[in-house]
């Protein structure tokens, strides 16, 4: 599978996004916690530029014994890509919508080699 060189490792700041054009498609390469993820920059909802939005952790209602609501918190281990048009949220790890896994961002494999970042297209 052909690879496209994105950048040198570290060129994208932690938490940052680089959008690259491959043919007619725009692909967002996201760096989070020193790992890289790549998705097509089109939301399956209405076509928004999903990779240009915020990354937000899963919001959690904390429920105690007997169904008591204790409060809310963020689950930092489950980071989401949030489409900026409407707020559709997708797991950063696999690109699936947080409720409906049939809705997903098109994912690209990221290859780190020799201090450089590539995506397989």
């Amino acid at each position: 599978m052909p690879e496209v060189l994105v950048c040198k490792d570290g060129e994208i700041a932690e938490g940052g996004v680089r959008l690259i054009k491959v043919g007619r498609e725009e692909i967002g390469v996201i760096r989070h916690s020193n790992k890289y993820y790549a998705y097509r920059n089109v939301c399956p909802h209405q076509g928004g530029p999903a990779c240009e939005g915020l990354r937000m952790p899963q919001v959690v209602d904390r429920i105690g014994e007997g169904g008591i609501l204790l409060g809310q918190t963020f689950d930092e281990d489950d980071m989401h890509i949030v489409c900026p048009w409407h707020g559709y949220e997708f797991h950063l790890a696999d690109g699936c919508h947080v409720i409906d896994r049939n809705l997903r961002l098109k994912r690209y494999e990221v290859v780190q080699r020799g201090g450089e970042i590539f995506i397989a297209v």
Binding site: V17, Q46, G47, P49, L54, W85
Partner: protein, 414 residues
């Protein structure tokens, strides 16, 4: 084989721009050849708060003008009734970023921003409404509502509608004061770009009371539609029981129009003003079949409760107009298709985006529907609004250029 990327965008280096945010919408417009379809957006918004200093100068009453200039009109914070995290706490980025968008000194910022999103979506003409000012309906000081509505409408006509023919509006009516509503219709009914008048549906008022009849008669006589624009208020006694925006918005934006619709029908307004056209704005569509079924069922058992009605409530509703957004589209194609049939969508439904708000719909939400034909799509996207508002079907300059390029390349228009 490896290929080095030659072009890339680094988001951290970019300043917010509507055209960039909506570039995928522009691709949809090109792919679907929207230059073959006249598109009217019957419900869109601007943030009049950004021009409030200009608007305040239009307030007649010097005391109120001084107060408005001192207080401003910005929305409150987390503890306020309006501090309702509509933007999903920053997730909808155009809310916080919008203020940073760079525009040329002329024309007016609102015109530039409107045209930027309209061109990307493929919209030719947009009916523009204010945003925070819709909440004037909940202002306990009715004289403030009247003073600001006159000022806003004057500013809007002078600054936007006179200058940009692609932007129209249905002007805000201070519905707590029927006499002031009549004066507004009188003063602005002939102004350029005014295609109707609008009541924010959160007005805590009875639309069937006698003082309103003069206003309805005036609109009917002028062939000007009356819109009920949905909203929500956390001050509503029942909605105060909600604690999350999804609940207050999901219920509030339908409930207020359901209430006005029920009162409008059972008091026989369609019989009293048979030529007055009403538009029910921004409640989505799912509530309409519910109201039709519920009211028809009860009416057939107690026709004496609504003696002015000569037909079933749903028969009157089928003659009204409805805007499409936010169209309920998740896993419910059959229900949506039945809804389209029940409301005579090919003649009564009006496309609306509600841009730039969080739950906006693109024209593709109508264009891509599998269960209506192309003529129905064209009607909903623009044809119905063209007839209703008596609009000239002029394509935007962007779409005209696209059409000309196609013609030059020998590709026929549809």
């Amino acid at each position: 084989m490896n290929e080095h990327t030659r072009s890339f965008r680094d988001l951290s280096a970019e300043v917010f721009d509507t055209r960039t945010l909506l570039k995928n919408a522009a691709e949809q417009a090109i792919e679907r050849r929207y230059e073959d379809t006249f598109i009217v957006d019957v419900d869109s918004h601007h943030y009049e708060t950004e021009a409030f200093k200009e608007i305040a100068e239009y307030i007649d009453d010097p005391v109120l003008r001084h107060e408005a200039k001192f207080q401003g009109s910005s929305r409150g914070g987390i503890t306020s009734e309006s501090g309702s995290y509509q933007e999903i706490a920053g997730r909808i980025t155009r809310y916080p970023e919008r203020k940073n968008e760079i525009v040329p000194p002329k024309p007016h910022r609102d015109i530039v921003l409107m045209e930027r999103w309209m061109d990307q979506l493929g919209v030719d003409i947009a009916v523009m409404f204010p945003t925070p000012m819709l909440n004037l309906s909940n202002c306990p000081r009715h004289e403030v509502e009247v003073g600001l509505s006159f000022a806003y409408n004057r500013w809007l006509c002078d600054t936007i509608l006179e200058k940009e023919p692609r932007i129209k509006s249905m002007l805000y009516l201070p519905f707590h004061d029927p006499e002031a509503c009549c004066r507004i219709i009188e003063e602005f009914g002939e102004r350029k770009g005014v295609v109707g008048f609008m009541v924010t549906a959160t007005h805590y008022t009875r639309n069937y009371q006698n003082p309103y009849m003069k206003m309805y008669a005036m609109l009917q006589e002028r062939n000007m539609p009356l819109g009920f624009h949905a909203a929500f208020t956390w001050a509503d006694q029942s909605l105060q029981l909600t604690n999350r925006f999804i609940a207050v918005h999901g219920l509030g934006f339908t409930w207020c129009n359901m209430l006005h619709m029920a009162n409008w029908l059972v008091n026989g307004m369609p019989e009293r003003f048979p030529k007055l056209k009403t538009i029910w704005i921004e409640s989505g569509l799912a509530w309409i079949p519910f109201m039709m079924q519920r009211l028809d069922n009860e009416f057939m058992m107690r026709t004496s409760d609504a003696p002015l009605l000569k037909r079933k409530p749903s028969d009157y509703m089928r003659e009204m107009f409805f805007t499409s957004q936010p169209m309920e589209m998740v896993d419910n194609r059959k229900a949506l298709e039945v809804t389209f049939e029940m409301i005579n969508a090919p003649t009564q439904l009006l496309y609306s985006s509600d841009y730039p708000h969080w739950d906006m719909d693109l024209p593709s939400t109508i264009y891509d529907l599998p269960f209506i034909d192309m003529q129905a799509k064209k009607n909903i996207l623009g044809g119905n609004a063209q007839k209703l508002f008596n609009l000239e079907p002029v394509l935007s300059p962007v779409k005209q250029a696209r059409l000309a390029a196609r013609t030059a390349a020998g590709v026929a228009a549809e």
